[in-house]
Symmetry: C2
Subunit: 496 residues, 2 copies
């Protein structure tokens, strides 16, 4: 059993990094494992991931993609086929050299990503324009040998989905890469309640082997940015490297155009860092493993019997109530008898359960239940309140919808407040040092200026935003570094 | 596009092994990959696995288990902690020796199974009787370096679920191992339509590190047996090896008792081999990726328009119809215009779609649709028939239920017909050579007799059946090998 929240030091404001690690441990999301850089995802953390995964999986299927499964192990020669790709990934590869007692003739990489495997497999499966588009996805583990790891955000092994597609034209591939970034954005916004700035990566930051990398960047509670997921237009780079060709309608053999796109469990880290507070996790109801926790309150055996008898039908009525369209309300009654109600309150607050119900003998007599939200609104909405048992299921469903909306509004407000237009070098350096957050500025497009910003400020070029992404901000007209006319609006930030 | 079924040699009766490989390839379930012994599971095969997985996952959760995720890589020293376990698995382990450019201080095994990792992780998480039972499960990939591989049945990497539990008493652990074998049996029977003989494994066949291994064994179409899944009572073997202890209610520190149980994608291989026929796959409706395929039939542009206009509302009405409780009917309209209806019939028969609908101009005029089942009953039920469009959704739902039942009855009949009571050595040898199937006989319990049977006949001891499993057969009283009094009833068979 965890120590109650009050026993732990968890000063989010004082040490955000340590607070994050404490929350991951104390809310029992994940723990360290006996393997360097790898975590054990515990039931509560995995249930959170399952809700995110299932929501995204549904949208991936609704947009016409089918799931497949590709081998974990990638022969070294395959990984080396696309030159930029291998250059980007080989420093991070874990290598299998022996099978049983025998040394292998060729080393096998544990997949850091599967573009190379996809290239080799679809060389045989794509023959004609009738075989296009190929629209596939896999949910899989990947390994990237990282020196500095952090639960969910950066781990040597992680779970993700990787989509892979091939198309007959460059335009279709670009459209697909944009469509899937749009699907990701829906999940980030509507499920995780996290706003993002979407757009392109710079040449220096793009995926090894891609023509264009699209990204969504979010702002964490410490005003550092996190890359939430990326979608790549691979052009015909992999198709050429793997000699994939299709016979087109005009009887010409052509290389198809590819995309790939990935969304990992690091988004769980974002949920923690965007919504959490001094008391621990705050979970958006749509992905919360438990929507409602019920805490019985009693002193005597008679009271206990009366309270438990009153809770049973409430539990059943709540479970029968739909919310967010097709979800059922997920209820947990905390029947532990070796801890106090106060301990339970702290415990479930730490775990970010959106709604707590308290049922004591006086509530039973009155036919009411006390409802308390994990994070009342600043105007007091959602603070402790008595609700009639009859209205409870509908009341709770409506609250869950409101909480979901409120969390998104809150994170949008935070992002806006921490997105700063900076128009020259001094302002960029000063605002970055004093406030952090997203720094919106002009950029001449040169890699040298991009490097200089990073070297001086620690902020990297997160995203070249799509038109309309920052409409309230007039774009700066000069490069913040060199003063030359800006060819792009760029968003810099210190990042995870 | 696949070649039509009629172009392929697929003589199930003549060469069952080759027929299996042809079906896996031609129905586009899986293809070979560039990595030795690893397959690519294609969309149709993966959808089949998803339906099986989701059904089992629901039952695993309903029986109180929670999903987790453990690291892929297991340090060599951990794998070696339980002596019998490492002895059983080390010949099959793929070893990671390098991360990036650096050689690792300790080799890492790619998990062949996770008991060792579970032991190391739960040593820290189990402290008190309040932490018990631990009831967790993971869906994961594992690697076992196999010399002879076969798609789904035996692959160097495969997907499975592995459940891991710890309990305060030996009795609870035994009960859990039995409960989960029961859950597996439900899935095999009610979803895959495959009967099994359940019971214990012999000492020689049990899981390395287990006290008792429970198994379900099914009979494939060539009368060879397949182990469908196993559930292990681990006693306190792993708890002792990993020094896991809990403080009991009486203030004594004790080792808990463990179980583990696994169900893999080899069950997809069983579905192919139990139900398939000369024309390809036959899929139980509950797990079929497509329940109903609609083939439009037309010659002229006008006919095409009329037929397509008639199909649209049928498609919508079918999709809205529930079947098997919470499933929706899964419909595919085959609108390809570069192949003939006859080609489509073969194509979807090869893929085992349970029901085909044919819609031509005459059907449109009459307000009917032609319904044909993939595998009509021997009495002709399910052969081509005209059904009124109005009755179609209910008719199709009822047929799917009937087909599911009929497939199970058919496989039960086959298993019964190929389960032979043999009462002496000559009969065992003769029946095995002439007929194969399950050979039910007496066994004295000695490993020597078990080895002799295998050495002479190629049949292994599949299962020591639970009481009541073979109630129609009177158990033989003497060991088929040595003639000594039988202490057990044993089921031998040649197996995959």
């Amino acid at each position: 059993m965890p120590a109650p929240a009050s026993n732990r030091s968890r000063a989010r404001s004082a040490d955000f990094g340590q607070w994050y690690l404490d929350v991951v441990r104390d809310a029992e999301l994940a723990s360290y494992s006996p393997v360097r850089g790898c975590i054990v995802v515990r039931p509560y953390g995995f249930a959170l991931w399952e809700h995110v995964r299932d929501a995204l999986d549904r949208r991936i299927k609704e947009t016409g993609h089918e799931n497949i499964y590709l081998p974990l192990l990638v022969p070294e020669s395959l990984l080396e086929t696309e030159a930029k790709h291998v250059e980007g990934f080989s420093p991070q590869v874990a290598w299998v050299t022996h099978g049983g007692a025998d040394e292998l003739a060729e080393r096998l990489a544990i997949r850091p990503t599967s573009e190379a495997m996809v290239g080799a497999v679809y060389r045989d499966l794509i023959q004609s324009y009738r075989d296009l588009p190929v629209l596939v996805n896999q949910w899989a583990n990947v390994v990237r040998w990282e020196l500095r790891t952090r639960p969910f955000l950066r781990t040597a092994e992680f779970l993700w989905q990787e989509g892979h597609t091939f198309h007959a034209s460059a335009a279709e591939a670009r459209e697909e890469a944009e469509r899937m970034l749009g699907v990701y954005r829906e999940i980030w916004q509507d499920w995780l309640a996290i706003p993002t700035i979407t757009g392109r990566k710079s040449e220096a930051e793009k995926f090894p082997g891609a023509d264009v990398t699209l990204t969504g960047e979010a702002l964490m509670g410490d005003r550092r940015a996190l890359q939430m997921g990326t979608s790549h237009d691979l052009g015909s780079n992999f198709a050429r490297a793997f000699d994939i060709r299709f016979l087109d309608r005009d009887n010409e053999r052509r290389h198809p155009f590819g995309t790939s796109w990935g969304f990992s469990w690091r988004t769980i880290g974002a949920v923690i860092m965007v919504h959490g507070d001094e008391r621990g996790l705050v979970l958006p109801p749509r992905i919360a493993p438990i929507h409602v926790v019920v805490v019985p309150i009693w002193r005597t055996v008679e009271e206990r019997a009366a309270v438990e008898a009153a809770i049973a039908p409430v539990e059943a009525a709540l479970r029968a109530q739909a919310v967010f369209g097709d979800q059922r309300i997920r209820v947990r009654v905390d029947r532990r008898d070796d801890v106090t109600p106060g301990y339970k309150f702290n415990d479930w607050e730490l775990r970010g359960v959106p709604i707590r119900l308290e049922v004591g003998p006086r509530d039973v007599a009155a036919g009411t239940i006390v409802v308390a939200e994990r994070l009342p609104a600043t105007d007091g909405t959602g603070a402790k309140e008595s609700v009639s048992v009859d209205h409870l299921p509908a009341d709770v469903a409506a609250r869950l919808e409101r909480i979901q909306t409120r969390l998104l509004e809150r994170s949008i407000t935070f992002q806006r407040a921490n997105t700063h237009r900076v128009s020259g070098w001094d302002e960029l350096v000063d605002v970055n040092a004093a406030q952090g957050g997203f720094l919106v500025t002009g950029w001449c497009g040169s890699a040298a200026c991009e490097r200089d910003v990073q070297a001086t400020t620690g902020a990297t070029l997160r995203v070249l935003p799509f038109e309309g992404e920052l409409e309230e901000l007039e774009p700066p007209t000069a490069c913040a570094r060199c003063g030359a006319p800006a060819s792009e609006t760029a968003v810099f930030a210190r990042a995870y």
